[in-house]
């Protein structure tokens, strides 16, 4: 958006023609507060708000933008589709653990959208219908319906959440139906007679009694291979065998383009019109048939073949240039064994962010002195300065302990931690750690004095006193246990 972008304070509406009337088809938050509603005649809106900015709705461009967004959201799961006019559907089955769980995934999704100026709401539920309703009626801005709870949640929602045409909703409201549960409890036959089969179909889809397949979005330049089966297949070994064949074909296609796969999506189309998906990612571009097959077959147990699979498609949804690499040959040095394949296998099994290395950060505050980096990040050979002892186990939150100690710079004579009182026989310290004022103002004069203490049995602990022992400004003078030595 440049300087020509409309100001956020002035109400904006999108106008369009419906039949022979010009209506408001979309309105922003400012327009809503000014009393403009969707479906209002354009002339009325212009009278209500004098300086109204109005634009003509370009539904083709909107749909194209939504399609682009669907392709973008392929990063979250292999099966996504645009849900016009204003939604995206993502089938997250088996994909959420790669993004840190459903809650974290939704929050990430919404904040990424917010970063590019799109106000989005997101919900996860058992069915498309339920998620559609929860996102529009419950998400603030995210909502996760507990597994199996969708019908109960749906019953309490207004019937507007059912994805029905406007006139059916009006008709139901006239009859006195407000909540979905009331419609569900009413006899189906008479409602169908009056409103047609659409009402029952939408209700069943929302409650998960009727499946609702959708065509996943695919970008045209995608490298994809496909295999259809005359007789549906179901055995894990058969799926594995054909996965191998698909990977081999895909790798040939990748080689022709000089690419390596970073992410593969294997879609298994079931005979009952549902799609099961396996997604694997790799840390570096890979074109090795064996390695990619191994990653995919590793996850076959997660798919449910149902009554059989009739079509399998394999796509490299993320591919990067992959050129020939010179193999370093040296007489003196043994080449370092490559473990990226192991990293890929583990990352696909437990999630990418749960696999990491630690790297030093120049900070004296112990909990800030380490950061997590990707497992295959280049090794710069740095380490921490080794002059002060550090405990192998660090408590995430320092635990308060009771002590008796002389101020200002003596270690405690005894301390009691987790209900056990220990007499200190030997101690080393203090190691003074200053607060880092460039992080937070409160740390400007904060101080911690660390001591390494040993009790009678020889166990060693890392304890600190908040404050320098003299000036109460520097800390509370309370004692904490921060780590356990060997």
């Amino acid at each position: 958006m440049g300087r020509s972008a409309p100001s956020a304070e002035i109400p904006i509406v999108m106008l369009g023609r419906q039949g022979n009337r010009r209506l408001v088809l979309a309105a922003d938050a400012a327009a809503h507060t000014a009393g403009l509603r969707i479906g209002m005649p354009a002339s009325k809106a212009q009278v209500l708000v004098p300086n109204l900015q109005s634009f003509d709705l370009d539904s083709a461009a909107d749909a194209a933008a939504l399609d682009r967004m669907a392709l973008w959201s392929l990063r979250y799961a292999p099966i996504v589709a645009a849900d016009p006019p204003d939604g995206l559907i993502i089938d997250t089955t088996g994909a959420d653990h790669l993004h840190g769980g459903e809650e974290t995934m939704l929050e990430g999704l919404v904040s990424r959208m917010a970063a590019s100026g799109i106000e989005a709401r997101a919900a996860v539920a058992d069915t498309w219908g339920a998620a559609h309703a929860c996102a529009r009626f419950l998400a603030r801005p995210t909502f996760v319906a507990p597994l199996g709870q969708a019908p109960a949640i749906m019953r309490a929602l207004p019937i507007g959440a059912l994805r029905l045409p406007h006139d059916i909703v009006e008709g139901l409201l006239t009859l006195g139906f407000e909540r979905m549960g009331e419609v569900e409890a009413a006899p189906r036959a008479s409602l169908t007679l009056r409103f047609g089969p659409e009402l029952g179909r939408r209700l069943d889809q929302a409650m998960g009694r009727r499946s609702e397949p959708f065509e996943p979005a695919r970008s045209p330049e995608l490298i994809e291979v496909r295999r259809a089966f005359g007789e549906p297949i179901g055995a894990a070994e058969t799926i594995a065998r054909y996965t191998g064949k698909l990977v081999a074909t895909l790798c040939e296609a990748l080689e022709a383009k000089g690419l390596g796969a970073r992410r593969l999506d294997l879609l298994l189309h079931r005979v009952d019109n549902r799609i099961e998906a396996i997604r694997v990612g790799t840390a570096v571009p890979v074109r090795d048939v064996k390695r990619l097959t191994r990653l995919l077959t590793d996850r076959i147990e997660t798919v449910d073949p149902g009554f059989g699979i009739e079509v399998m498609t394999l796509a490299a949804t993320l591919a990067e240039p992959f050129g020939a690499k010179q193999i370093i040959s040296s007489l003196v040095e043994e080449p370092e064994p490559d473990i990226t394949d192991l990293i890929d296998v583990l990352a696909n099994r437990i999630g990418e962010q749960r696999l990491y290395r630690f790297a030093p950060v120049e900070s004296d505050v112990p909990e800030r002195s380490v950061r997590r980096i990707a497992p295959n990040a280049p090794d710069d050979g740095t380490s921490w300065p080794g002059d002060w002892p550090r405990p192998p186990r660090l408590l995430t939150h320092p635990e308060p302990i009771e002590t008796m100690a002389l101020l200002p710079d003596h270690p405690p004579v005894w301390f009691s931690w987790r209900g056990i009182r220990r007499r200190v026989t030997r101690a080393d310290g203090p190691e003074r750690v200053f607060g880092e004022w460039w992080h937070r103002d409160a740390e400007l004069i904060a101080v911690r004095d660390y001591f390494q203490v040993e009790d009678e049995s020889g166990e060693r602990f890392w304890i600190y006193r908040a404050g320098d022992g003299e000036d109460p400004e520097t800390g509370s003078h309370k004692w904490f246990l921060h780590g356990v030595f060997a």
């Binding site: 473990i339 583990l346 290395r357 921490w384 192998p392 186990r393 060997a486």
Partner: protein, 253 residues
């Protein structure tokens, strides 16, 4: 084998037994501790590569596993190649492992979330073959699971170290259950020896070799890992520097 054969017949028998135990392809290399008294009781003169080793802490160490982690870090530091460290929840402080010689660039951590995933990652790491050592922190290790791990380690030649940690002291009796590990160690902190000045000296451990396949168990009082991951025997002398003590030992081992 370390000890000389009494007669050719005995040597032939030993060879047959060895063949029965693991086949000719089995990796017989070992990683010496560099401390002759410890290496002498271990068959092959050191910690077997391509094998599973079981380590637990004594007393409070059964819960925090601090000494056991440093002991494992010392072994991993002296092994060649990268190290995979599998935990359920992360509470390791990497600077301490670096002080035991295990530099941060060599260790990949896996935070698996639950015991079953830790076991799966542990086995995957042992099977891979490109790693020097694989460490996993576990509470339970069944005979079946440890047998799988041992076979995976034998096939790849990596050292597998299972650090056993429990939530409560009473659960530590689980350590008595048999596993297929080649050696089993218990590391317990000992009071350090008094220094002539105030302060704390190098940590000391009671290192119990509880079980070793084809060998006898033994106890050692050792000084904890130095910055190269080496242990040292408690010398009883107050004023010799660690380097002076370790130098000749390294030359032998």
């Amino acid at each position: 084998m370390g000890q000389p054969a009494a007669s050719p017949a005995i040597a032939a028998l030993r060879e047959r037994v060895a063949r029965l135990e693991g086949g000719p392809a089995r990796n017989r290399a070992t990683l010496p501790f560099g401390v002759p008294r410890i290496d002498k009781v271990l068959p092959g003169g050191g910690l077997a590569l391509g094998a599973l080793h079981d380590v637990a802490g004594g007393r409070n160490g059964a819960i925090d596993g601090a000494a056991a982690a440093l002991f494992a870090a010392g072994i991993a530091a002296r092994a060649k190649g990268k190290v995979l460290w599998c935990v359920t929840r992360q509470d390791l402080f990497a600077p301490a492992l670096a002080q035991a010689g295990l530099l941060p660039g060599r260790v990949v951590y896996v935070e698996a979330g639950d015991e079953a995933s830790v076991l799966a990652c542990f086995e995957e790491g042992l099977r891979h073959g490109g790693l020097g050592a694989v460490v996993a922190e576990l509470a339970r290790l069944s005979m079946t699971a440890s047998r799988r791990l041992q076979l995976a380690a034998e096939a790849s030649g990596a050292i597998g170290i299972a650090i056993r940690r429990w939530r409560r002291q009473t659960e530590a009796t689980d350590f008595g259950q048999p596993t297929a590990a080649v050696t089993r160690w218990r590391v317990t902190a000992l009071p350090s020896r008094p220094l002539p000045v105030s302060g704390i000296g190098r940590a000391r451990w009671q290192l119990e070799l509880i079980r070793v396949r084809a060998g006898e168990s033994a106890d050692f009082e050792v000084e904890a890992c130095d910055d190269k991951g080496r242990l040292a025997l408690f010398s009883g002398l107050a004023d010799r520097s660690p380097s002076a003590r370790d130098g000749p030992v390294r030359a032998i081992g």
